[in-house]
Amino acid sequence: MKKGTLKQILLITDGCSNKGEDPEVTAALAKQQGITVNVIGILDDDQTEDPEGLQEVEDIALSGGGISQLVYKQALAQTVQTVTKQAMTQTLQGFVNQELKQILGPDQSLEEIEPEKRGEIMEVVEDMGETCDLEVLVLTDTSASMHDKLPTVKEALIDLSISLNARIGRNRFSIFNFPGKRKDIEKVLDWSPKLDSISSIFPKLTSGGITPTGPAIREAMYQFGKKGLLRNLRDEDEPGMEEAGY
């Protein structure tokens, strides 16, 4: 099996989109191109756990094939890393389930297999999760209401990098904010293996009330195909690494 790269967009927001395309549509489009969209909705301290208007958080993740979670900012760090890892497992398990269906027939999935054998399959999924390469594009909503949450977001992202860099597989992170000054999204950090460099450059605040989540996801999607990424990966690659299999 060739070692694959998982691609994820991690959207961190605290509210509803109000400009441009429907984010559910762009998330579905991303999914079609093999990019999972995870969404974390940050709650204000006075908000209940089931606030109105944040239904969108779940809907975007569902159509983007990812995981969503609403949290108060205190729990953000741990949530960011569990959501990312869970989404990886979910994606990999999806691959494995597909393979199983091809081998065993359309009605087979992990649940239909007796617990003993399930264990062996999950070991494979775990191995893949540990060793596969991962690209995470963090898309942070920096509209005015997010202002006081950004320091926590920054900490959570550094923490995410600690978690993921403990894996055997390689990681690439990039960070984009939306809305950007002129464009829909604005680059904060180009693809790089670690996030500890963000302390000085984060956040670059944009004020204003618009939240163009849909267009932001679309733009984010394009960043995975950008030359910078390819060059980065090639530079870091030891010869023959890309062909290395299991």
């Binding site: 741990q78 649940e111 999950m122 600690i162």
Partner: protein, 310 residues
């Protein structure tokens, strides 16, 4: 791990009978024992015997946990965690299936409660016991990962500390599977989240700090300084301070190294304690002697004085 998931804990009424889809064994639910990061644990009865049953709708995480328990048993390290009795699914309806596994029921006291009732002198003993088990686990190629007070239980007669939840157990060299911030050296900026012996040793110190700071504490602007200050301020831990400090700073290569140093520290303290006691006793022995000679002196004085009398 966070509220939203705990909320999803499965509620099963006492008296409910759970029958496994694959092995057809019947378990009668007695009461809820607790919630884990994944799943809910119930006390249940099977063939007249008590057992602990962990159930969750997340069958992948459950499968991963079962894999760990099995590996531990294969490595003959079963005494490290509860032994695994059964793995099965509970089919509630056509499209609702929960995964569960059944393990040995360990009944005991929480660490903090035991210490407060039976005295701080047990602290050192439990540290040694835990380090012995950790060494064994590490030798088998695993790291405990989510090492925290809630995952430990003290059995009585004889008092022995045991692990009850091995969900975070990770193969050495991989990324820690599950952790709790307070016990996680990554959170404190004191090291990576890669599974290695030092990761568990850090968490072990936090378990014992937690006894003396039941509400835990914030990391503050300088996490390292905070940790060392809190360790310094925990008076009952002062005997073990040096080894604990070294573990926080990641100075030990193995649990055995830490255990040896800890054992030496305790023995040394024991010797000074014992040599202190006899000297005390001889001190208290001196007092009657002084008293006796005092009386003799007074008697002599009166005797001599009586000689002077006409």
């Amino acid at each position: 791990m966070n509220q939203a998931w705990k909320k999803q804990g499965i509620n099963i009424k006492p008296g409910t009978v759970i029958t496994g889809k694959w092995h057809q064994r019947r378990y009668v639910i007695k009461r809820k024992l607790g919630n884990g990061a994944v799943g809910t644990v119930y006390l249940c009865e099977h063939n007249g015997k008590y057992a602990a049953l962990k159930i969750s709708e997340n069958n992948t995480s459950m499968t991963v946990e079962v894999n760990v328990l099995k590996s531990l048993q294969k490595a003959q390290a079963s005494r490290l965690g509860p032994s695994l009795l059964d793995v099965d699914d509970w089919e509630i309806s056509r499209n609702m299936t929960y995964s569960f596994y059944v393990m040995e029921y360990l009944q005991g006291d929480s660490l903090g409660h035991f210490i407060s009732r039976n005295g701080h002198e047990w602290v050192g003993i439990f540290m040694l016991q835990l380090l012995e088990d950790l060494e064994y686990l590490h030798q088998s190629g695993w790291v405990f990962g989510d090492f925290k007070s809630e995952n430990l239980i003290v059995l009585s007669q004889p008092p022995k500390i045991r692990w009850i939840d091995v969900g975070g157990t990770t193969q050495i060299g991989r990324a820690i599977k599950e952790y709790t911030e307070f016990y996680d050296r990554g959170y404190w900026g004191m090291g990576s989240r890669r599974a290695e012996p030092g990761y568990d040793l850090f968490a072990l110190v936090m378990v014992f700090l937690h006894i003396y700071y039941p509400k835990r504490f914030e990391k503050g602007p300088n996490p390292k300084a905070t940790l060392l200050k809190k360790l310094h301020d925990a008076r009952p831990l002062r005997l073990y301070r040096e080894p604990l400090k070294k573990a926080l700073l990641g100075k030990y290569q193995s649990a055995a190294d830490m255990r040896n140093e800890l054992l030496n520290t305790i023995n040394r303290a024991g010797i000074t304690g014992r040599s202190g006691k006899p000297s005390n006793r001889s001190g208290s022995g001196k007092a009657p002697l002084a008293e006796g000679s005092g009386i003799a002196l007074v008697a002599l004085f009166y005797y001599l004085f009586s000689l002077l009398l006409p």
